[in-house]
Symmetry: C2
């Protein structure tokens, strides 16, 4: 196995650079570890790294004097601060010094850095941010509890061509990363019938149905999102963003209601105590954002956006996902899919 | 109080005409009852009505030989069957023989009958289907557990002018029907900032902010939908449809998971038994669609779409809502709001 290099933007996460540095340090000590370039304030990273055991041969520090904070407006920050950690990390990919990028920073900043410095795969007009989310039904042979949805915020207005591209990219990701060999792909619409939805959805439906490029199961409705009827749900960035944030809101509401019930009545309190292990599972389930990264699909190199609240473990997972995406040639699979549609 | 007349489309609901006939019969016996015209197959309605106590002076039967079933495609059914119950009921409004319409039939059929035979209020370019849904936070002085969302499927592509009109209509409905004097109105977007969202959302935001026509609290995100941050959430029909169906799906998933937990472990079984009254409340909560009707706002007369699964009680409630909407002059309040924006 050839040695890969992953650029890790260590700045701009909610808890600062600590989790990223510790994740890189821990990973460096395993045999399968890729080389890691930590990008951020040099002195700060050096001090944090000195505190933890690591394999110095596998970790390089790359100084960036600035970073984009969660409060920054990405486009403005890009103008005002030319040497942010995310911009320099993306430039490492452009210069072929790294094979993939992981960041737990400002989502808009990562999308912008990807668009400006990494660039898109040939044949991809718009990138997509994909997210995994928990569903009632498991997915694939591995009974993965998560489904994939894209786009969730990179491309607000997606036309038919973009929706088809998103379907191909999501299918490739579910197949190679979630190891679900023939993932069921659906378009989100306001009705199951092929004639329902915007002109873009109707045309994308036709192309997906006729090309056979993915395992297309047709249009699904909102009710199918939590059920997990499809392994990959394709939609535009506006709707995907609303839906994903609504799932977060529902999780929080369920937890709040459980807390409220706990305070309310003795019988309910006892009941909840009996259910404690179930509720712990629910909490794990609703904390899903901790566990994966959200891939930005359609760029010429792999970019994974980890959640801003990521723990060391979560960032470690995101680096592993990035490594797996490079080793399994995710972008090669996407290119193949695009060719099928182009020739069809 | 003057005598109002409500046209009730008695056909096409999941359980047939029984619930509508029984609801009308029960209501006719109360002093505050409006006059009711039951529209549907005359002999069938007559036989059903003969089985239940009712005030014959307040109930009129209006024969319609056909009806639109849940399986029918509304536009095709309209061509093939000119004398459906929903079309004839809508024509009673057009002929000023009735003041409002209630139907538990095919949603597309009710929307089409409203558009073709009832017509829109002056200044309203597109009608909106509004829906109430349960939220974590209560609403208004009456601590109503439901918020209002519109559009949820009448106008798939809503421009800025439509979104502003929907905000005015939703605010009037929440104020007069839910008796929430100054309902908080928000636009659903992919970010809270005024510059987030489509061009239509950005422009609607500006108009609502500057005109002061409703109590506009700005843009909200998906996470705010289940929390109930706003009393009225305004969005286009595609997104509203996805969101509303997703709420249905989440409710079903929560119930399925509870059932699964019940089978799984003795401790969980005991726990759920302890929580029985809580779960009954959850079930009531998730059965919310039973309780109100969904108003079609923007038509020249009040039209309420009750859920296809409506019980007698649910249809009775929908008739009461229609009566309240006419008596409180909902359309007058909408007209006033439209004038504020027009002159602004």
């Amino acid at each position: 196995m050839s040695q890969l290099t992953i650029a890790v933007d260590a700045m701009g996460a909610d808890a600062g650079p600590g989790p990223a540095v510790r994740a890189a340090a821990a990973l460096s000590r395993s045999d399968q570890s890729p080389n890691l370039i930590l990008v951020g304030r040099g002195e700060e990273l050096k001090a944090l790294l000195a505190e933890v055991e690591h394999d110095a041969a596998k970790i390089e520090l790359h100084h960036a004097p600035d970073y984009i904070s969660m409060q920054d407006k990405p486009a403005e920050a890009f103008e005002a601060k030319p040497e942010t950690s995310i911009a320099l990390a993306a430039k490492l990919l452009a210069a072929d010094r790294a094979d993939a990028l992981v960041s737990a920073g400002n989502t808009g900043g990562v999308l912008l850095a990807g668009a400006r410095h990494v660039g898109r795969l040939e044949g991809v007009k718009r990138a997509a941010l994909a997210a995994v989310y928990p569903t009632e039904r498991p997915h694939g042979d591995k009974r993965d509890p998560f489904a994939l949805m894209l786009d969730v915020g990179a491309t607000v207005d997606a036309g038919a061509e973009e929706l088809v591209t998103f379907a191909i990219m999501g299918s490739a990701y579910a197949s190679l990363i979630s190891e679900n060999p023939s993932p069921k792909v659906a378009l989100l619409s306001n009705g199951a019938e092929p004639y329902k939805g915007s002109a873009a959805i109707i045309e994308a439906h036709r192309v997906l149905r006729e090309s056979g490029v993915v395992n297309f199961i047709g249009n699904l409705e909102g009710v199918d999102i939590p059920k997990g009827t499809a392994d990959v749900i394709v939609t535009g960035g506006f709707v995907g963003n609303v839906v994903l944030k609504m799932l977060e809101g529902v999780s929080e509401t369920v937890r709040d209601l459980a807390r409220y019930a706990y305070r309310r009545r003795l019988a309910w309190k006892l009941g909840l105590w009996m259910l404690a292990s179930g509720i712990r599972r629910l909490k794990e389930f609703t904390d899903w954002q901790q566990y994966g990264g959200a891939p930005i699909l359609g760029l010429s190199k792999v970019c994974i956006k980890a959640h801003g609240r990521s723990s060391e473990r979560a960032i470690g997972n995101a680096i592993k996902v990035a490594t797996k995406a490079v080793r399994s040639d995710l972008n090669g699979a996407i290119r193949e899919g695009l060719n099928v549609v182009k020739q069809g």
